[in-house]
């Protein structure tokens, strides 16, 4: 029984089903990575867990509680954080304002959380007054992750956080993500860079055409010759 679990999810965006009996989950303090070829439904699975599309079958539970019917906003209140792949920052607003908006639903003092985000991403502290739209790709991703962390989520979901950033920045981002997981937050992410992502993953899911093909620990998947051959380029 995972902390966050999407079980037997089947559904799509209204037309044909994209997900077929797909199951993904993650434990507190763990990193779970979803990989697979293009069009495998990785992002769709992520959106399904976050409530951004209607499931025909299956359910989503968090700490055993059924949250299938909740809207994304309500899931945020339950302790889920989501970093979309595209347009994931408020470009015209400063870094600090982005973080503030991330914490919009909180009524208490957010300064402490903001300090924690700045500790995690020190560069953001220097750029706190700059509009997020003027930052580099990697810095933007940091703002996006920081924004999602502002609600103090128990689960952080990342949709291809390293899309379009350089390898160095990617390593740096993965380091930060490991650090977040060490603080006891469950991390569920979709990644194109399968090798690097599985390297840091406690658990890996390989999706093909909306179905689970392989599920194992990250390490085991890296060792599996079939997975290596088909998805990791040998």
């Amino acid at each position: 029984m995972s902390f966050l679990l999407g079980e037997n999810m089947t559904g799509g965006y209204g037309g044909a089903d994209i997900l077929h009996d797909c199951t993904i989950g993650v434990e507190e303090g763990e990193i779970a990575v979803v990989v697979g070829p293009n069009g495998a439904g990785k992002s769709t699975a992520m959106k399904a867990v976050f409530g951004m599309l209607n499931l025909r079958e299956g359910r989503v539970t968090m700490k055993g509680e059924d949250i299938t019917k909740l809207s994304p906003q309500d899931r945020v209140k339950k302790g889920m954080g989501f970093v979309p792949q595209n347009s994931n920052v408020f470009t015209s607003m400063s870094v600090e304002e982005n973080l503030e908006m991330g914490a919009f639903i909180r009524e208490d003092d957010i300064l402490e959380t903001m300090e924690q985000v700045f500790e995690l991403f020190p560069i953001l502290k220097d750029k706190r007054r700059q509009p997020a739209g003027e930052l580099s790709g990697g810095q933007r991703q940091q703002v996006a992750v920081g924004r999602a962390l502002m609600t103090k989520p128990k689960v952080l979901m990342l949709d291809e956080p390293t899309a379009g950033v350089s390898p160095i920045v990617m390593d740096e981002l993965f380091d930060r993500i490991i650090e977040i997981a060490r603080n006891g937050i469950a991390i569920l992410m979709v990644e194109q860079n399968a090798k690097q992502a599985l390297n840091i993953a406690d658990k890996g899911y390989v999706l093909v055409q909306g179905e689970n093909r392989y599920t194992d620990t990250g390490e085991a998947l890296m060792q599996d010759p079939e997975v290596r051959k088909a998805f990791l380029g040998g």
Binding site: V76, P84, S87, F90, S92, M101, G102, F104
Partner: protein
């Protein structure tokens, strides 16, 4: 010689700078309302001119009522006291309209064009409503003292040929515009609600993900728009005079201001307002007297030296609009978000 230069400058100040500042302030306030709705609801609100007319009408009715009660502000126009009444009436009107008209299309996620056509219908309705209540004719509702500085006083004090007159309404317009713009920017940049509006305008999906309530944002946008429209309309009415038809005509310069600055950008709306106002005033100004002061007598021009007759002042807004559309369609301040 020195005196001639001074005279020429005073002439410019009197006929160009002062009216331009006042008109620019009015346009800026109007364009702010348009840009705010564009930023949040993402359509060009053709009913904005008529919203201005309605708010102004309510303020005029309240002014008359106050006048009949003998309440006044001394040297200031009573209309200032009536402004809150007008704003409140306009707020009720736009919120009712939003509830009955626009909300439906929002839920349907209709395209901006449908919103635009709906706003045409709303414009038609408001237009009839205003004329139904107050009639299509000119209404004068200015009272208090007419001038801050009269031309005669100025001439006597400086000993120059040219006078500089500043109407009370012009002074109030500029002061009010500065205060209101400052308050608006404080709201947008410093308060939680204001920031949530900017966030919503910047990236609607992410704003929803962050738990920002769209209905609240839309409501605040309408309330601000109603206030801005009423203030802009009343100041315009005090400065010129109130006639429902003029509020239909002012729509073009207001749109031009908002687009020139960049639709959705408040700073752009203000800059655009002044660009349009000063261009309009400059192009329709007869420079004959000004040049006569500066050149030797023999060179004095015998024509008016007016670029365009005042009948074509709308052509100025349009020409600027065209240039912006051709050269930089996003406007001076690359709009789209608050």
């Amino acid at each position: 010689m020195m005196e001639n230069i001074l005279n020429a400058l005073v002439l410019l100040a009197n006929f160009l700078v002062v009216p331009g500042l006042a008109y620019g302030s009015q346009l800026a306030l109007g364009a702010l309302g348009v840009t705010l709705i564009y930023g949040i609801l993402r359509f060009s609100n053709f009913a904005h001119g008529e919203t201005m007319a309605f708010g102004t009408m309510a303020a005029i009715l309240a002014t008359w009522w106050f006048q009949s009660l003998g309440i006044s502000l001394g040297p200031l126009p009573t209309a200032l006291l009536a402004l809150p009444v007008g704003i409140l009436a306009a707020m009720v009107l736009v919120l009712t309209t939003d509830r009955l008209v626009y909300r439906f299309y929002r839920k349907q996620k209709s395209s901006p064009v449908i919103f635009l056509i709906a706003s045409l219908g709303v414009m038609f309705f408001y237009n009839g409503l205003v004329r139904f209540v107050i009639g299509p004719n000119d209404q004068i509702f200015t009272d208090g003292s007419r001038f801050i500085v009269t031309a005669r006083e100025f001439k006597k004090y400086t000993g120059l040929n040219e006078g500089l007159a500043i109407k009370t309404t012009q002074g109030i317009t500029v002061v009010a515009a500065v205060v209101i713009v400052a308050a608006l920017f404080w709201f947008l940049n410093k308060t939680r609600s204001g920031k949530s509006m900017r966030a919503y305008s910047d990236n609607e999906d992410l704003a929803l993900l962050s738990g920002i309530n769209p209905d609240r944002v839309v409501m605040i946008a309408w309330l601000l728009t109603a206030a801005l429209a009423t203030i802009a309309g009343t100041l315009y009415g005090l400065d010129k005079s109130f006639k429902p038809f003029t509020y239909l005509q002012i729509l073009l310069p207001i749109f031009a201001s908002a687009i020139v600055g960049g639709l959705g950008s408040p700073i752009g709306a203000i800059a655009g307002g002044f660009v349009i106002a000063f261009s309009e005033v400059t192009v329709t100004f007869a420079f004959k007297k000004f040049v006569t002061y500066l050149v030797p007598e023999a060179w004095a021009p015998d024509t008016l030296l007016q670029l365009l007759s005042t009948d074509y002042k709308f052509a100025v807004s349009f020409a600027i609009l065209v240039v912006v559309l051709l050269v930089k369609p996003t406007g001076l301040f690359s709009g789209k978000s608050l």
